[in-house]
Symmetry: C2
Subunit: 188 residues, 2 copies
């Protein structure tokens, strides 16, 4: 068997990664307060003291683990914007979204997560508002944003059967007119 004992630096990197992965999964699953350093360490098969040694504090570990997806780029028209938002719906698995879930899971109870969520949503609102005409662009942008927030919370965090039972395209199809109504102001 290939038992090259692995160089020290590589071992270190892998261990840190394992801790970060474990933290991400736990933060995403049960949120900041119910995730313990001890549980993270156990999952990563490591001593709790090592988690502290690498990340300094639980708060800092959370900061490193809970990363959020970047907001959409500027310079889209209203329809492109809607499609971009709907496109974000399907990112369920993988690395970055797991971090986003951790952030969202904790945003109602952990102050720092709330601050971060506000900042990210604020940036998304800014981007959206640039592409929406009219006086109340910011409010419309905010509503589009919280609509997506609600769908995500209901789907990913509360795991509502009604949303989980159908493919993402079906949700996107039904949601499209609602978002369009907000993206392009006109007589209804």
């Amino acid at each position: 068997m290939s038992d090259t004992p692995l160089p020290r630096a590589e071992r270190r990197r892998r261990t840190e990664r394992r801790i970060l992965d474990a933290a991400r999964a736990l933060f995403a699953e049960v949120g900041f307060e119910r995730t313990t350093i001890r549980a993270v360490a156990r999952t990563a098969e490591v001593d709790p003291a090592l988690v502290m040694q690498y990340f300094g504090s639980k708060q800092e570990l959370f900061r490193r683990a809970a990363q959020v997806a970047p907001p959409p780029e500027a310079g889209l028209d209203a329809d492109e914007l809607v499609e971009h938002l709907l496109g974000t719906l399907d990112r369920k698995i993988g690395d970055l979204p797991q971090g986003s879930l951790a952030m969202m899971r904790s945003m109602l109870t952990h102050p720092e997560a709330a601050a971060s969520a506000r900042e990210v949503l604020g940036r998304q609102i800014d981007r959206l508002a640039e592409s929406i005409p009219g006086e109340d662009a910011r409010l419309r942008a905010a509503l589009m944003t919280v609509i997506m927030l609600g769908v995500t919370v209901g789907h990913q965090l509360l795991e509502l059967d009604e949303l989980r039972a159908v493919p993402q395209e079906e949700i996107a199809r039904l949601l499209r007119p609602s978002l369009r109504a907000l993206a392009s102001p006109e007589a209804s």
Copy 2:
């Protein structure tokens, strides 16, 4: 001064109420995990042991404090339904809504709160679906529900400036077409 020493039963009732009010406020503000029996007792100006004596456990205290608003009645048509939903937007202050906030604040991190939220939202989806024609009524109802959820979370819990800055009627006005698009299926 009127120093009628208050009958025992009355004192008891008032104390229990004070505890319940304190619990509601704290659960609504920081959620289940960060709310401590000791803090509730301090706020209600009472000994922590008394809270236990009256409510048995922190979990049971939460159950009593975090009550949710009843779902809409059945038998409305689509437009009435939309108006009913929009009407629920303004309940910011008062007693029952404080309980709802407590529930919502904790639903992403406290399992029992999550279960309760799922149940309440499920009932609301049921009610809405009854009044919506078409094959995908339940999915449409679910989307209307999570849209309102998103607005409420953004407004009441995350306290997004963009939503707090405008009167509730303005939000209702902009949201109405989006909800109508889901409530009454037709070619867009």
